[in-house]
Symmetry: C2
């Protein structure tokens, strides 16, 4: 059965230590017993990770280790468990690439909509997509719906709820979703256009299924999902559900520790690109360069490339940079990201008050001009 491969950057003082650490990973991620205890035959020959390549890297060493799909099963959680579960607890090991191979690609077919599907949904066949955010936490459902209406009238392509709206007493999930959908209905009557609407999916765990069913019945187009909080399998569960047919916008809440330390965790192109595509996200939110997070232009380009690479797993998905976006930066951002990108417009948009629709229209002209 075709194996999948993970490339790790490994801190080591010499090649011998690097090989010893790579061998440690190959056992740790699979059998988790010392080599002399591994049963011969299938377990030793197929299950134990195999070092396929190892050598020096610009920043230490790198090793590519292959694993059997028999280790990963059909569950996305277990796939991640094999990729990096226990070794994430070792210092100086970072996942820098994942090649899922044909069998894992078959088991995790990826995004239901992808770039093309989201463009159809938002009726924006070309050009960057404008994606304002409904917030802040603490205001009521009707006020959130009023902002949604202004965004729709201004020409937003996608309207997204802030990831912190949850199911708070001030604007409960169900009342809020119903109010926003009604506001978008009113705007559509006026303009003939309707943005795609992504509601933030709240917990607790035991209400997630009911919340999904409610969101579907209430006519949302997709959901903001936070795998760092809710687990990775939730993205996969939504993406695979043909009857539900809802899109997934991944929000990176609580995933920061994976990317901010360069010696451990995962490269941002892996966690916000490759893994999102495999799990089934249609849009991948990440902190934009020049915003209030420390992501570099190189980070953002690498994420966007991983989201859009035609050879990546599943459908290409939309990079969804957030933070520090404004009309003034539209040209610069377009030069950097190209056409296939959705721009989050957050807190600074709210500063325009009743004029926020006009600001979205200005952003549209800046992107199209």
């Amino acid at each position: 059965m075709s194996r999948f491969a993970v490339t790790y950057r490994i801190r080591a003082t010499d090649a011998a230590e690097a090989r010893a650490r790579a061998e440690g990973i190959a056992y740790e991620q699979t059998v988790e017993v010392p080599p002399d205890v591994v049963p011969p035959g299938f377990v030793r020959d197929e299950i134990v990770g195999r070092i396929e390549e190892i050598g020096p890297d610009s920043d230490g060493f790198r090793a590519t280790i292959s694993y059997s799909p028999e280790s990963a099963g059909d569950d996305f959680h277990q796939f991640l468990n094999v990729v990096f579960g226990n070794s994430s607890l070792q210092k100086g090991i970072r996942v820098i690439a994942i090649d899922p191979g044909p069998e894992i690609r078959r088991r995790h077919p990826g995004a239901r909509f992808g770039v093309e599907g989201i463009r159809r949904m938002a009726r924006r066949p070309e050009g960057g997509l404008i994606c304002p955010v409904l917030k802040p936490q603490g205001i009521g459902a009707e006020e959130i719906a009023r902002i949604a209406c202004l965004c729709a009238l201004g020409g937003a392509d996608i309207i997204k709820e802030d990831h912190g709206l949850s199911d708070l007493r001030t604007a409960p999930f169900r009342a809020r979703v119903e109010a926003v959908v009604a506001a978008l209905d009113r705007a559509e009557l006026e303009t003939g256009r309707r943005p795609a609407y992504f509601a933030t999916l709240p917990g607790p765990f035991e209400r997630i299924e009911a919340n999904l069913a409610f969101a579907k019945a209430a006519r949302v187009d997709g959901l903001v999902v936070m795998p760092g909080l809710f687990g990775w399998g939730l993205v996969s569960r939504i993406a695979r559900d043909e009857a539900l047919n809802l899109a997934v916008m991944m929000h990176p809440s609580l995933t920061g520790p994976f990317v901010v330390s360069e010696g451990s965790g995962m490269d941002c192109a892996v966690i916000y690109g490759t893994l999102q595509r495999l799990a089934g996200s249609d849009l991948s939110i990440f902190p934009n360069v020049g915003g209030r997070f420390g992501f570099t232009e190189g980070d953002c380009r690498a994420i966007a490339k991983a989201c859009l690479d035609p050879n990546g797993p599943g459908r290409p998905i939309l990079p969804n940079p957030g933070g520090g976006m404004s009309v003034d930066r539209a040209q610069e951002m377009q030069a950097m990201y190209g056409q296939d990108v959705a721009y989050l417009l957050g807190g600074s948009l709210l500063r325009h008050g009743e004029g926020l629709g006009a600001e979205i229209a200005r952003m549209r002209r800046a992107l199209d001009g």
Copy 2:
């Protein structure tokens, strides 16, 4: 309503920068809009985080910020979202303490069993608990059950499945659990004793509820749950279910990036202690000092203290160190951890083959002697 407080270690070159970063956190974790855009009244006065204390720290600065339970709602995911969701993406911010306060303690009452409940379950009223691990991945269900039987005959207190057993073709979850329970039934007939049995809960997401129901019907005592993969709300969902009445053993798979970088993430006592208690874990697995992970004695002592602190949230829970445990280290470990601890015995135990029961008995004598 009584607020909860999070203490962050903040990298900054001077006090002014530290204060600016702390203010950034107070907004980022709640309203996520610039200060001038925050609506006056309830949102500004109650929702926005408040800097309660700020000052120099041995390693930079530390700031304690309080948040409203109105921001966190009833859902454990959202509580974590407020604690560290977006700020986790900033470099040089680390969560070093959480004081949940009375309202969050009420909403998240913690472990169903805790130290006392697990001791009753394992019929080990005092002394360290011995907890062998069933593995490796890739062997069949009957072979796993045979190892379980040897462990039970040897006097194990808790038998735990390896976190990588999942629902693989080689030993599917249901067949495996049934085989292990039958093996423990046989051992009980022989010895009159029965260890607590923790099966590893597999996904995918859409089968978790059915797997929980199956585990209950099959008479497991608890489940190995990995919040780093499955999300934090799953621990809470199991702990709160009175009818299910199953214990939770937290496994730290994929949580490594939170602890291995000292300048970001969370202190290990927070993630493996305080948060586990709030979420509802009964046992908290972490890498033991002297094993193959780089945890120090200080780390392990801090985790154990947070698990057992009588003033912590919910019931005290069992620290469950793993890695590098052996009979030779029993005295040293007991001196360090005291009585309330469960020792994982992993791969090295399997080296004893048919004699692994005798090795567990030796471990018992070493702990009791």
